[in-house]
Symmetry: C2
DNA sequence: CCCTAGTTTATAATCATTATAAATAAAGAA
DNA sequence: TTCTTTATTTATAATGATTATAAACTAGGG
């Protein structure tokens, strides 16, 4: 984890930004909650535990900065808030999401899966793809299991 | 177009809602701007031309209602506003979008393209897909043409 | 014609996000 | 070290999108 933070520090420096204590605390929270999809408010509340003096605006600014540097990705699942997701180190493309319409869980798909589709789109629409967002909405395996179990009782 | 409105009227009735003049005016605007991706505010301003007494809250409520009934899809391209997009009649799935990071243009892809990917996801993650959102960010053909033209001058 | 339920209007309230100005910290020059 | 400059943060106000509220309105059934 330290090495991960060191590398992020280098990325910031390369763009002539500093890794201030507030920024480091924010990154640390993101690393500790890599599985989750935290909103700015979520991050703020968690960061306050390790850096109580931090302001909400700083968290927003830091998340925006990390987004610019492509260290995190900003996503929106249709509820009113933006969520922030650490990009896998070295990942060429943003990963996909499975949002369960029953329980609200959000799972990630790290595999690309879109290579063929993107090749078609680039050629057919003459569109040079730089990034993508793919989200599936449906019933997750947990809810699926749960309901088939209910039915058998 | 009239038949299209008639069918939407039937869909509303089937869910025991009425097609009030305000709702009809809103639907009419959506039909007239099928190519665009209007925000609630955009719709409001356009509807006011044909029904000046309408309130913004009614537009929001109508768009929400149409979203519930899957007559429109609510999408978010990362700017602060939700946009509303008429679903193609009889379309099984929501269509995809190409967002140009140069000029901001949003083009639509009506073809499904995701059948194979969805089959993989359903099987591998045991996730029952109900809907999807796919957006590509990149350089559209217009901007692409423009820059290669500039280079040759 | 009255009653009821659904709908709309106008407005206020809320919530996420961004802007502002003053305070602070860090880095470099003298 | 001390001065100076610039980046950063804090606290707070402002903005902008969306939602809630209460009163007025409308249409259909009895």
């Amino acid at each position: 984890m330290e090495t991960r933070i060191d590398r992020i520090k280098k990325q910031l420096h390369a763009a002539s930004y500093k890794l201030t204590p507030q920024r480091e605390a924010t990154v640390r929270i993101l690393l500790e909650h890599e599985e989750d999809h935290l909103s700015a408010e979520d991050v703020y509340l968690l960061v306050k535990d390790i850096a109580p003096e931090i302001g909400l605006a700083t968290v927003y600014r830091t998340l925006e900065l990390l987004t610019e540097l492509k260290i995190v990705d900003k996503i929106n699942f249709g509820d009113g808030v933006s969520r922030y997701d650490l990009r896998q180190e070295g990942a060429a493309h943003f990963h996909h999401h499975l949002v369960c319409i029953e329980c609200g869980a959000v799972d990630e798909i790290q595999e690309d899966l879109l290579e063929d589709v993107e090749a078609v789109v680039e050629k057919r629409f003459n569109f040079q793809i730089k990034d993508h967002r793919l989200t599936f909405h449906g019933i997750c395996w947990r809810c699926h299991d749960r309901s088939s179990q209910d039915a058998s009782e």
